[in-house]
């Protein structure tokens, strides 16, 4: 097993949809090196993809002159992923999606991203920057979750 504790990996993505898959692949590789089981790696991949899509679409508003930073930090028991963009972030969480309202046309069928992020990782925190220069979402998955 490669030693990963205390290491940090950074990726910069162009603000173009599709490049979230680069972050997914990087996060999956680091999580695999840390010994996360396949099921948790799949959870992480989806959460990282959704965080990057939000950063590309809503944070950087698809402006390809701006990049999305993805910083992965490994410690003994957890992997932290920060996804940084140039937007102002969110000041309050949107309501949880309601499938009945969506299917009946009473709610936008989109808007599942933040819900999925929260559901798939152990910690999710949105930090907004009123100056609009350094907002980020911070995700954490823990190695010992399956033993809890």
């Amino acid at each position: 097993m490669v030693k990963t504790t205390g290491t940090s990996v950074e990726v910069r993505l162009p603000s173009r949809l599709g490049f979230e898959k680069v972050a997914m692949g990087t996060a999956a590789s680091v999580a695999a090196l840390m010994g996360f089981p396949a099921e948790r790696i799949e959870d992480l991949k989806t959460a990282v993809a959704e965080a990057c899509i939000n950063a590309i679409e809503h944070g950087n508003k698809l402006n390809e002159k701006l990049s999305v930073g993805v910083i992965l930090s490994a410690s003994d028991h957890e992997l932290e992923v920060k996804v940084v963009d140039n937007g102002a972030g969110i000041s309050k969480q949107p309501p949880a999606p309601d499938i009945d309202r969506k299917v009946h046309g009473e709610e936008d069928p989109r808007g599942m991203g933040m819900f999925l992020i929260q559901a798939l990782v152990d910690e999710a925190e949105w930090v907004h920057d009123s100056k609009g220069t350094n907002s980020y979402v911070r995700l954490v998955i823990r190695l010992d979750k399956e033993n809890e």
Binding site: L17, G18, E39, D100, K102, M112
Partner: protein
């Protein structure tokens, strides 16, 4: 970077002999899949049951899930039955989390899914 979505449409006979439309997706299901996914959906009749085959799909994001919900919206209006098969265990979990399983049964393979329609 996104794998292009291709959708083919097959017709199979259900256990009761009625025709079932099968939409078979290949590639990613994301925001760029709209024309392929919803275009194929529009070509199937609005009365018969429909199977959605995800066995050759590796990546689905929230924009792709929204396209699936749009198909379920249309199906719900006419009482059309929809069932899904071929999802990885991870995406079976995700589809259940977001509530899609309430409107379309999730099954491991085509015969099992077809038998429910």
């Amino acid at each position: 970077m996104q794998a292009e979505t291709k959708t083919t449409i097959d017709r199979i006979a259900g256990t009761n002999g009625a025709s079932i439309s099968v939409l078979r997706f290949t590639g990613d299901i994301s925001s760029t899949s709209k024309d392929s996914v919803l275009g194929a959906w529009q070509t199937v009749g609005r009365n018969g049951p429909v199977l959605l085959d995800f066995s050759k799909v590796e990546y689905i994001n929230s924009s792709g899930i929204a396209l699936i919900i749009q198909m379920l919206m249309e199906a719900d209006k006419t009482g059309q039955k929809v069932a899904i098969f071929g999802l990885t265990p991870h995406f079976q979990k995700v589809f259940t989390m977001v509530g899609i399983s309430k409107y379309a049964g999730l099954h491991r393979d085509e015969p099992t899914a077809a038998a429910t329609l």
